[in-house]
């Protein structure tokens, strides 16, 4: 039980944090465009969910407070309260306070009402008094949107009756019941409640039954109906209905909406009229096979699209790094085929949102293929953006299956509610005209799924395919749930898994390389072993990717920081982020927030000048701060760039001399001078602001970054701005490496830095007195580096002619490393050397080799520096 409680808590706090983060970013967007009702709706929804979940896990303080936020938002939504900058500020503050409350709760601290009473007062101030009553009512049950789709789905006869009754003066309600799946176990069964309702009026119920399993798997105590919608005509009042559902409200969500006469007139009558005028439309109860198949095939289709999009995003990612041009070509072909097919299929299925998202990309890809447009970074970015939008659209469509009304703006500007029933209907309309095409498409999809190839099916095979389809249909719905869902895992479990996988890989290698295996000649054993290798590798890749997170959330937080600091200062600033999809190891993501916050704050406070100063300096009034994340070599770089006044080299120098950090005669590079501002005790805030405008707590920033094995570079142009570049290694990344041996020692040379291998003749080596050795490779002279001499504590070396030379390159500098032998090419997992070894030059890390020993990974850049120094 304790464990369960803990898990529940964990889940909740994770969710709450995510909701608060999204509230933050939504508010930022909303601040930019307070007219946008969609954003306001999303904000409301997030606040509402937060309130709901805190209630579910019993955090009443949090529930109580978020309730007030929700109230204000609701009033804003209904137009009773006009959005002002003040309100947005208050909302930001409330989100912060909510975060505080959540943190307190997480630390098991008590939170009393007094803690947030002041904020509540502030929130309530904005709500006009005459709505107080409404608020009271909403406390008990949520009002719900009128669901046209539900009305549409109803049997027209029933509706007619309902309407007639409503006209007699009876009340007409819409009730939505969403209960936890295990509510029956807890003694709550929705059915008797509905029966009870029926004793006082007429109930028309609607729900989705697709979750109900086959009889042999059916659990009578499990509620398979996620949502039940009722249309209820009765004389009883809203309060009475609420009484009926009193207990149910605790175990789930009950939304009651009383249709006003006006609503009945506008929505209901219009719907009914159009409904009656529709000729030959079948009743809801008799779902014909075509509709059902089409509906389910949409699921399959969405799943396919979703999978393909993730594949495409993956390919794009690989294109972002350095790569072969042939890859570009293959990718373009692949992408354009996919998008072309997608536009076609989605068109037939009537999924306009998808068509709208995909067709611009299709056009772009066609132009790229035709050579009219270059396949450059900008366009890759466009495709990526498009693919992401598409993924979003797919997500929206598939989650909307249960009539969740998320209005999607169409190009014509009207708002439609394209839920699955609508789509099915539109499909039906088109299918009467185009029945044949639809069927061919459907069968085509099946073949595609099973063979992953586009084969034009023969019409005669259709019967077989249809049977296959029904099989596919079931698996596809099952799979869909898995494809889109995510699971929260305790990070330490992931770490343990990571370590264990590392062990698995080594053990597997030890087994496969076991000496006694050499005597065994069994093809079966070999086959199984190679299978084992593949699986192990697969697990390793998966686990590693699990630890990678995008910088998205971090950057969103930074936007918030920038906003807050800007508000407080008298600066005017635009904040931009790029590359927020760059992935980094979780540890780095977790820890990078603090140093970034500091840098962003510094940039606003001290980097950017006041508007007046900027205008005098001939710069645009609006300062710019940019966050940019990207891959460079083996590192991930995060730039914090501002276009402010920059650093004053001379003043930093003077200060450093007076502080005794450097000597008067020290000849320092620009870089070194800038680094001085990060030296501990360089200066206190006030002094630095006076001389350079930077340096506040920068030593802490540097410490934090170095803790993550990163480093900071600063570049600055006076009067133009400053860039702080934070460079982090991909700590858990693996690299392609060449394992070489020198005597008993093993080293790994990153494959990327290797140019070639050669075996020198003794005449190729020239000794330059006092400067070391040079070796001639293919007519060019390179410095010869004997690793054992360089690393001193290694044993004596061989003659060059008995060795192999590895020509390596870094930053356009080259040298030849002399090794005894080449032991093989392999993917190695980088492990960082311990803290105490941070100072080691020429070694970037280490890795555990196949025999369980540790091999050092050579840092070619470092070796070159060592030799030239």
């Amino acid at each position: 039980m304790d464990d369960f409680e803990k898990l529940k808590g964990l889940d909740f706090f994770g969710e709450a944090e995510e909701l608060l983060d999204s509230l933050d970013s939504l508010l930022l967007e909303f601040e930019k465009d307070p007219e946008d009702a969609d954003i306001l709706n999303s904000i409301f929804r997030a606040a509402h969910t937060l309130k709901g979940s805190s209630g579910t896990v019993g955090h009443t303080a949090l529930e109580g407070f978020t309730h007030h936020i929700e109230d204000l938002l609701d009033n804003m939504r209904s137009g009773k309260v006009t959005t002002t900058p003040d309100i947005i500020d208050t909302l930001f503050e409330s989100v912060d306070l909510t975060r505080l409350i959540t943190e307190r709760l997480q630390n098991k601290e008590e939170v009393s009402e007094d803690f947030y009473a002041q904020m509540v007062e502030q929130l309530r101030e904005y709500i006009p008094l005459d709505t107080e009553e409404v608020i009271y009512e909403k406390k008990r049950a949520l009002d719900t949107e009128i669901d046209l789709a539900l009305i549409k789905k109803l049997n027209k006869k029933t509706l007619k009756e309902a309407k007639a009754k409503a006209e007699e003066g009876r009340k007409f309600y819409q009730i939505e019941i969403r209960l936890e799946a295990d509510c029956i176990k807890n003694g709550l069964d929705p059915l008797p409640l509905i029966r009870y309702l029926r004793s006082d009026g007429d109930v028309i119920a609607s729900t989705s039954t697709h979750n109900i399993p086959k009889l042999d798997k059916f659990d009578p105590l499990h509620l398979y109906l996620e949502e039940i919608k009722l249309l209820y005509t009765s004389n009883i009042s809203r309060d009475e209905i609420e009484d009926i559902f009193e207990f149910a409200m605790e175990a789930g969500e009950i939304c009651i909406h009383l249709f006003t006469a006006e609503e009945l007139k506008t929505h209901y009558d219009a719907e009914l009229d159009s409904f009656w005028h529709e000729e030959g439309s079948s009743d809801h109860d008799e779902i014909d096979e075509d509709t059902l198949r089409a509906a389910l095939d949409i699921d399959g289709f969405l799943l396919d699209v979703n999978n393909s999009i993730s594949r495409i995003l993956k390919t794009i990612k690989s294109l972002e790094g350095p790569h072969d041009d042939s890859l570009n070509y293959a990718a373009t072909e692949d992408f354009s085929q996919f998008f072309h097919r997608l536009v076609g299929d989605a068109g037939v299925l009537g999924l306009e949102t998808i068509v709208r998202c995909a067709s611009p990309i299709e056009l772009l890809l066609q132009e790229i293929r035709a050579g009219e447009v270059l396949f450059n970074e900008e366009n890759i970015l466009k495709i990526k953006k498009g693919a992401e939008d598409l993924a979003m659209a797919v997500l929206v469509i598939s989650t909307r299956e249960e009539e969740e009304d998320l209005p999607v703006k169409t190009t014509t500007g009207t708002t439609e509610v394209p839920n699955s029933t609508d789509t099915v209907k539109s499909l039906k309309e088109s299918s009467t005209k185009n029945k044949k095409t639809a069927k061919i498409k459907a069968t085509k999809k099946t073949t595609q799924k099973s063979e992953k190839k586009i084969v034009e099916p023969k019409i005669e095979e259709r019967e077989d395919d249809r049977r296959e389809l029904s099989k596919d249909r079931r698996t596809s719905t099952d799979r869909r749930a898995g494809a889109l869902a995510s699971i929260r895992i305790d990070a330490t479990r992931l770490d343990n898994l990571m370590d264990m996988v590392g062990e698995l890989v080594i053990t597997q290698a030890l087994v496969s390389q076991d000496k006694s295996l050499e005597e065994v000649t069994s093809p079966r054993l070999e086959k199984n072993l190679s299978q084992l290798v593949k699986i192990t590798k697969g697990i390793q890749d998966q686990v590693m990717s699990m630890r990678m997170l995008s910088l998205n959330a971090t950057f969103r937080k930074m936007s918030r920081v920038a906003r807050d600091v800007t508000k407080r200062s008298n600066k005017e600033i635009t904040f931009k982020v790029h590359g927020e999809d760059t992935e980094l190891d979780k540890t780095v993501i977790d820890e990078v927030g603090d140093p970034l916050t500091h840098l962003v704050r510094n940039a606003v406070d001290h980097g950017i000048e006041t508007p007046e100063e900027r205008i005098t300096a001939g710069k645009p009034k609006l300062g710019t701060i940019e966050l940019n994340a990207y891959h460079k070599g083996g590192s991930v770089v995060i730039d914090v760039r501002d276009d402010g006044k920059g650093l004053d080299k001379e003043k930093i120098r003077e200060k450093a001399i007076s502080k005794g950090l450097i000597n008067k005669n020290d000849d320092l590079q620009d870089n070194d001078i800038y680094s001085l501002i990060m030296a501990p005790g360089f200066s206190t805030a006030a002094e630095v602001t006076a001389i350079s405008g930077r340096g506040v707590g920068l030593d802490v920033v540097r410490k934090n970054v170095e803790k993550l094995r990163g480093r900071i570079e600063i570049s600055s142009t006076e009067g133009q701005g400053t860039v702080f570049s934070l460079m982090f290694p991909l700590t858990l990344a693996s690299i392609e490496g060449m394992v070489v041996g020198i005597d008993e020692d093993r080293f790994i040379i990153p494959a990327l830095s290797i140019e070639n291998f050669s075996r020198p003749k003794s005449t190729d080596v020239t000794i330059v007195a006092g400067r070391g050795e040079l070796v001639e490779v293919r007519g060019q002279l390179f410095p010869l580096v004997r690793l054992n001499r360089l690393f001193k504590n290694f044993k004596d070396d061989k003659a060059p002619e008995d060795s192999i030379l590895v020509l390596v390159e870094s930053d356009e500098k080259k040298c030849c490393l002399m090794v005894d032998n080449i032991l093989g090419h392999q993917q190695v997992v980088i492990k960082s050397l311990d803290e105490s070894f941070k100072e080691v030059k020429g070694v970037s890390g280490c890795s555990i080799l196949g025999d369980g020993r540790v091999g050092l990974i050579l840092d070619v850049g470092g070796i070159l520096n060592l030799t030239t120094a």
């Binding site: 690393f791 050397l833 105490s836 100072e839 080691v840 020993r853 540790v854 091999g855």
Partner: protein, 180 residues
């Protein structure tokens, strides 16, 4: 001889459990369980709570540019940990490793480190009254590494403060001294 090491290992794990169940305070000067080992014929002790495990000598990968007492790194079940030769650390002449040589894996802060010693002896209970403060001078060992002197019968064991022996500040300091 190998079996002896296993016995000590077992005793160590038991003692650790006991120590955790008990006051859970670090043994420190207040006394408690210590793992004793031999180094150049002198007996030393380490608080069992700072000891993770005992392993035999395994392949050590040399890391360049390190002070001589840092022997390199080893693979401890997937974790790469640094290894220090305690003889060299204390300025005692090096001897070649044999099957009695052990690596004691200790926890320093939140990281693991291996220390190479001649051989492990046993797990001992030393009460606070049997522990005397470190002498101000007169031993081969710098006294700030010493937690106290434990008396068992007639023998005296040097109880080490492993954090002080191995912290990276200490290492960094030594490094700087060597560079200068």
């Amino acid at each position: 001889m190998g079996s002896e090491k296993e016995e000590v290992s077992k005793a160590l794990q038991e003692a650790k459990e006991e120590a955790r169940e008990g006051s859970s305070e670090s043994a420190g000067v207040v006394g408690g369980k210590f793992l004793s080992f031999l180094l150049h014929n002198e007996e030393y002790g380490l608080d069992v709570l700072s000891v993770r495990e005992i392993i035999g000598i395994i392949d050590i990968t040399t890391v360049p540019q390190m002070p001589n007492y840092v022997k390199g790194v080893v693979n401890l079940r997937g974790k790469v940990i640094p290894v220090i030769d305690l003889r060299l650390r204390f300025g005692i002449p090096e001897i070649s490793y044999d099957e009695e040589t052990c690596i004691i894996v200790v926890e320093v802060g939140d990281m693991l480190m291996g220390i190479i010693i001649d051989t492990v002896l046993e797990v001992l209970d030393i009460t606070a009254k049997d522990i005397e403060p470190p002498p101000s001078f007169g031993t081969k060992v710098k006294t700030d590494f010493i937690l106290g002197m434990g008396k068992i019968g007639k023998k005296v064991k040097i109880l080490l403060d492993i954090d002080k022996v191995l912290t990276s500040e200490e290492l960094a300091m030594v490094e700087k001294m060597q560079k200068a």
